[in-house]
Every structure is written in C-alpha cells, then in structure tokens.
Amino acid sequence: MSDAQLEARHLSRHFVVRTGHGLVRPKKVVRAVDDVSLSLHARRVTAVVGESGSGKSVLARMLARIVTPTSGELVLDGVTIPPNTPRSLAYTSEVQLVLQDPFASINPVHAIRHSLERPLAIHGTPKAEIEERASAALARVSLEPPERYLSRYPHELSGGQLQRVSIARALCVNPKVLLADEPISMLDVSVRLGVLNLLRGLCDNEQLAILYITHDIASARYIADETIVMYAGQVVERSEGTALIDAPSHPYTQLLISSVPDPSDPLRQAPEIEDRTGQGQFPTEGCRFAPRCPHAMEVCRTTAPPLIEVASGHESRCWLYEDVAKVAITTRGQGGTISTT
C-alpha cells in the first residue's frame, strides 16, 4: 500500500460546556472526538459510520482544519502540520471538504459559474484558464455539457445535480484528498447511487483519497475499502474492506447493523434494545457503550477498552476480545450475538 496522503494521529477535540441553571454553572467537558487515528490513501475510500453525535462530522472538520484539534496531529504527505497555525492555501489545495446539504452549501444568489470560479481565483489560477478549469471540473462529475450548467442558478438544479456541483467545486483545485461529510443523506433515494458511483469512480480513476462519512452503513458497505465505526467520539471498530459489516464484532456495530431495515433477510433476529434513559450521557469511566451493551461485564464499567485485533486487519474496542481464544464469535447469520464460552 502506498504511503498515506493524509494521516490523523491521536486526534481529539473536547468542547467545554456549561450545564445547569443559575449564576455558577459547572463546566463539563464533552469529548466529541477522542484519540482518533486514521490514514487516507490514494485510490482508497475510507468510510466512517456513526450516528449523530458520534463525532464523525467534527472529525471531518478537523481533517479539513476548520476545527482546531484539542490534541493530536495531522500529517499531510509525510509532513506534519504545525499545530496552532492558520489553515494555509497549500493545505486546502490538497484537502477539500464536501458538505451534506448541497442546497445550503452553494450560494443561491450566484450562478454555478461563481461557485466554481471563486476557489480557482483564490488559489491563483491564471484568469485565462479559469473558465476552462471550471468546465473541466463539471465534466469530471458528469455534468455535461458544462456550458449548460455554468450559467444556471442553484434553484434550477435538482439535489443530485447540486451535490455534483459541490463535488466539482471541491475538485477544481485538484486536491489529493476529498472529505465527503454525508454527501448523499439529503438526496433523493433514486439519485444517491449516482453520487456514490461518481465518488467511487473518482477514487479509482483519479487517484483520490476519499473519506466517506455516513450514518448509512449499507452505503458504506457499497463503497468502502476500509470501514470505521465511531461511537461517542471513539473508534469502536475498524476493518479492512467491509469485514466489520459482514462479521461485526463490537456489540454496537451489531446493534447498528441489526437495526437497519433489510427485507431481504427475513430470518434476522430483532435487535436487543437496551433502556436508553441515560441517552446522551456517556460514562467518563470504562467503556462508553457499557450502559447500553447487552454483554457488559464488570471490567467494562471501570476500565476503557483498547482497540483489540480480532482478525487480520480487523480491530474492535471491546473487552470481550481481550483473549480472543476464549471467545466464540458468532456472526450475523447466527443471530448477531456474542457468547462467552
């Protein structure tokens, strides 16, 4: 495998919030992202799956250097980015972000031309080349002929077309890394696959490294070369390919997968639903998933588990795998549960 285009090492972001009422409100630290490491490689799609509040968007924003990490470092093309320096043009020309809602992320009062040409001008493209490169970017996302789209306004385009414009805008400065934060969740079901196939094609044909953030685990399975599941700011499971979807080891991943409506699998067991009265409050000690976990043990409530290798290229943050030999892992087909033998 080639060297990483962009690497995140032990990235954390903590937010301080005030809780309660009155004049003296105690401070509370929300660990939105806690010690996440990942690397993005050319020609690979890395999918990050998690529910809202799992920290996946904060992670993307840190990788785009919009949010400053509390700790940890970013390594772009082998060079460590000095912390506490402003985001540079050199960085944004390599790493670009595509946002979730194309209706909100493209300026509605300007024609598409403006949205594409502005980043080019900012990045110092000679005036003579700007129009040509904007057209080329539209062609790369299959909006052809480009002339037809350049003079259109956002309200004249459908959601799928707008999201393609949004991707074209990110591509026009020729970045090496594309961070896509829920790029299909606001789109109509029938056009989602088109955008996913476009991302896959860009990755394969143009050597892009793509981070694909989603809450839809089925779409991650469709596109990913590496899959990461986040829960409460931490990576709870990661695997090469989609091994963690086909054979989930972490109880949270199992819950996530069994919750997806899948009529093609009628024999699937209904998921075990735990009481969620403490929802939104993650324990400060031990495993963050322990209060909802059907397999929680004593150690889970006191000590936070590390990422443990459960198979080649497949890690899980769960004490159940501390001694893999002692544990019989039964996969989804047999009910999606773990039994300690």
Partner: protein, 377 residues
Amino acid sequence: MTKEAMTPDETTTENDTVLEIEDFSVDYGWGDSAVRAVNNVTLSVRRSRVLGVAGESGSGKSTLVYAVTRLLRSPGVIAGGRARLTFDDPSSGDAKRRTVDLLAASASELRSIRWSQVSIVLQSALNALNPVLRIGHEFDEVLKTHRREMTKAQRRARAAELLELVGLNEDRLARFPHELSGGQRQRIMIALALALDPQLVIMDEPTTALDVVTQREIVNELAQLRARFGFSMIFITHDLSLLVELADDIAVMYAGNVVEWAPASDLYNTPRHPYTLGLLNSSPPLSGERRELVGIAGSPPDLSQPLSGCSFHARCPFAMERCASEVPVLRELDESGRKVACWLHETPATVPGALRRRVPAVAVEDPSSESTKEVAS
C-alpha cells in the same frame, strides 16, 4: 378517558375501509400558474391496517395527506376528488359507523374529527412541539379542548399514562422540548397523536431525522401500540425497505401519481412498475455479494413544466413510444388485486423480464442490461 375505552375494538378484524380517497387532485397555485402536485390519486386504508406511502421529495405524498385531512394551506388547492372517513361514532352510543365526507365537512365537524379520529405525527418533532411550553402543557391542551369533562388531575394522569405507553418516564412532562433527544421528542409526538384514541394515525416521515437504532426502537414500539389499540395507520417515508417491514400495503408515488399499489411483500418481491424496481435497486444491500448497482438515471421531473405521457418515461429503461404521449392509468393487474400504472403491462408481450418475476427472489436483474428495443418488440 378511562382505561376501558382504550381496549381494542371488537370490530377491528373486519376488513373494511377507514379512509377512502378517490380521484384526488391537488394543485399549488391557481389558473395558468397552477402546479399539479397530486394527480388523480385513488387509495384506501383498511381498518387496523398500515398503508405505506413511499416516494421521493416532491412526489406529493405529504401534500396528499395534508389535503385529505384538510390541513393544506394556501396556495395549496384541492382540485378535485373525494375523501371519506368512516369511523365509530362515540356520540351515537351503540358504536355505529359514521361516514364523513372530509371535503364537504364544516369547520366544526372537522374540529370534532381531528385528533379524536384522525391524528398526525409530523416529520420534525422539534418544530412540531412548542419550544417555550413544557411537554405536559401540550398534553393538557389537547385533553382540555377535546375532553372537557376531565379534571386537571385526570388530565395529568392520562398524560403520564400516554408517556408510559411510549416508554418514557412521567418526569418528562415537566421538561421542555430542547431538553429531550430526537427520539424522545418523536415518542412524545406519537403519544400526543394517541391521546384521544384515534382510529387513523398519519405518520409523515416520523423516523427520517432519526438514527437507525432509534428508528428501529420507534418502529418496534409502533408495532406494539398497533397490536394493542388496533388503529389504522398511513406511514409516509422515502425508505421503501422500512415500509416492507412495517406496512400491509404500499403505494408508490412518483411526480404526484400513484404508480403502484400492492401488498407489501408482493411489491418487494415482484415489483411491477419500473420505478418501484428502480427504487428497490437503489438501496445497496447489507448482505450478499458487493457489486455495482445502477439506481435510476436522471432526476425527478420539474412539475412546474408540463409533462406529457407517463411522468416516469424520461427515466424509464423500458420506455416505449406510447409512454411519451399517453398517460397510463392505475389499473388492476390480473393477480391479487394489485394495481399498477404502466403501459408495459397492457399486453403480456411488452412486460420485461425484470417486471415479470413470480417467485420471491433476492437477486435483482440489472434493468439497464436490456435494451429498450428488445423490450418494445
């Protein structure tokens, strides 16, 4: 309301309709600038059953239910059709069925029907709950208006009982909406909708904004509540695979038209309309081999531009010449009363293999692999 009133109705096993919608059309705007958002829709909801309405944004699914329940605001105009609600009239004593023409009903008649017979759960629970009122106030207001005989203590007890039904603690009554999670707010909306024991509950994308785990919890809870109280339900969503699990019948809408209406499992296993097939192929599966899917080419039509022929023909891989000029009507196929609006089914020769399947099969053929010419000949 007392506990006895909440036991399931004896008559719920009867196979009759609660809501009947016929040739229903809705426009936005007037005269030349009118946009047809719902076009000649005929649907019915059977007693104690779930009708799922699937469609993309702009397909008219929400407009349809708002118009039918007379909640549609200007510039929405009901351009034609009939909508009848049949319910057990509590005021007539001997549980006699009463039918009300919803489009002819007076304001006071509608007022007596709304919430007590038909209630709606809206998509965004954060916007549907008043942010400056405590949750308890919302319950109190409903019960005060519709159940005047109840005392304050009774109302409070009923509110607590309703919260318990949806798995929430009574202490939530004193909370404000912003203190609750999305799933809890949506549960409160469901509890509110059930407050007066309605016979029909309309759910407009109740789980779209929620995480998949929370969605699963709410769907499971709805199933339990329905088993207990036997209300009918219209469930609107863009997620067809969720409907297959939840609904008895599914109507698929596209550009204001119902293009297919069939029992849920039939629709899933043997789709008959190319759009239904395309929708089913648009969701990557969670199991099985990983391979490239095609989805549906193009994007949904702009309804403000005049459409000719079938609204789907521009994106349809099987489109024939006649599809571009003649509008197909929803008509019954030979088997099991399922309905489809598609010219391909006019003669057996034109039905492509992908829309002819009989046995339940998980593998789905790629519609783009068959050329249009072959299909048309």
